[in-house]
Amino acid sequence: MLALENVWKSYPPHGRERWVLRGLNLVVERGAGVGILGRNGAGKSMLVRLLSGVELPTHGTVRRDMSVSWPLGGAQGTQGSLTGSDNVRFIARIYGLPVERTVSWVRDFVDIGPYFEMPISTYSGGMRSRLVLTLSLLVDFDCYLIDEGLATGDVNFSERFGREIQARLSRSSLIMVLHSPELVRRMCNRAAILDKGELTQYRNVDEALARYKRL
């Protein structure tokens, strides 16, 4: 289970305070797929960082009794000045995976040719998220946090990744920040809207999407 209990977060952390999250409550059980909807700047990424535990709430509690991925999306969790393969080595080392076997598996899966041996700061947005999403498959987390990462990547890769992640969803949970209605319908069994610092949960995905359109 992953739960937020009356979580408040101010931002920027120093300087003039502004409450981005105002008393959030959320319970995510094993196997749940939760879509988080919200406009740009509503605090969705902040919410994901709090759920993952890389950032701490100003007030309130985050309860985590399953293993949770780092927030997947953009270049988060990778080092721009290192090559793709060196980033894989780093991840393999900190999670205790066999290093060279992991590198060759990722090289085949991510399929970006010579770019794999170049600094990832030279990657396009699509290539970067391919790498980050592939890295997330290395570890069997109980809960995957995906921060707008799925929309990029070509059809070929998206399908390959979709198959892998769907196979895990029978036993793992998924919390996704996303904008695409089809993806919400396909991957999530419930949804919530983050607006003006408050989180409203909907049992029904379509109801949430209809509400989101009117924001």
Partner: protein, 266 residues
């Protein structure tokens, strides 16, 4: 191709994770510091050579009115090693969190790990330079250290003191770009105060007690005694240095913990 992300069992498990993480971070830092082929390794020897030339010239011109029967280059080398380690650790620690911000997204990678990894790497670099320099001074100038054990101990104290202050600077540097900017010029300005360029025996006796309040002065004096033995008179208080090490390490650890809440990871 996957492992299950389980909870590490107990303190021993937690410790083994931290050691694994720091090891991975050191390898990652090596990559950007020296490049894949290690060509950048040459550069770590250029800077000490410049400093040795600077201090050596200074010693040659200004000997405090006293003649010493040792080579100014050996003096410069023995004085420089602790200061250089100090300078590198502090400069690199200040930027440690900033340069690794995106890696902090992995929950097992903490600000403490990235600062410690950099500190350990800098100690390794300095020890490498020290061994090469000691051998060169011995072979070409016939100056072998009088007391190798004290040499090593003074270097160890210097590393621990730099680590303690580095933790503090690293914590402040993670939230203050001004600190990151100022640490290098400040370290250069500290150089004349650190005792790297002069010996206490050349100072007026009234001054000696005063400058011994600066812990680096004791380290440099001990280093020179280790190198030259009784050819010089040294004044130092290593117990006082130890108090500084304990104090700065505790304050540094507390500071790293305190800034956790303020680390915005964008």
């Amino acid at each position: 191709m996957s492992v299950t992300a389980g909870r590490p069992p107990g303190l021993a498990g937690l410790l083994s994770v931290q050691i694994r993480v720091i090891g991975a971070l050191i390898l990652r830092e090596l990559m950007t510091r020296f490049g894949r082929r290690g060509g950048g390794f040459i550069w770590i020897f250029i800077e000490p050579l410049l400093f040795i030339a600077m201090i050596g010239t200074f010693r040659y011109i200004w000997r405090g009115g006293v003649r010493h029967d040792f080579h100014p280059v050996v003096f410069a080398f023995a004085s420089l090693v602790p200061f250089m380690m100090f300078r590198h650790i502090l400069a690199r620690a200040a930027d440690a969190v900033n340069a690794n911000r995106s890696l902090l997204y992995h929950r097992q990678v903490t600000a403490l790990d990235v600062i410690l990894a950099r500190n350990v790497l800098e100690v390794g670099v300095t020890v490498t330079i020290a061994i090469v320099g000691l051998a060169l001074c011995g072979i070409y100038l016939g100056e072998w250290p009088d007391n190798p054990l004290l040499w090593g101990f003074a270097l160890l104290l210097s590393a621990l003191l730099a680590n303690g202050i580095g933790l503090l600077i690293g914590a402040i540097g993670s939230i203050s770009s001004f600190t990151r900017l100022m640490v290098r010029p400040l370290m250069l300005m500290m150089m004349p105060l650190s005792g790297a360029m002069w010996m206490l025996q050349d100072l007026p006796p009234d001054f000696r007690e005063g400058v011994l309040w600066i812990p680096m002065v004791s380290i440099h004096e001990a280093m020179r005694e280790a190198q030259f033995g009784h050819r010089i008179v040294s004044y130092y208080d290593l117990g006082y240095v130890l108090v500084w090490i304990i104090g700065t390490t505790l304050v540094g650890l507390a500071a790293v913990r305190a800034v956790r809440r303020f680390l915005n990871r964008d």
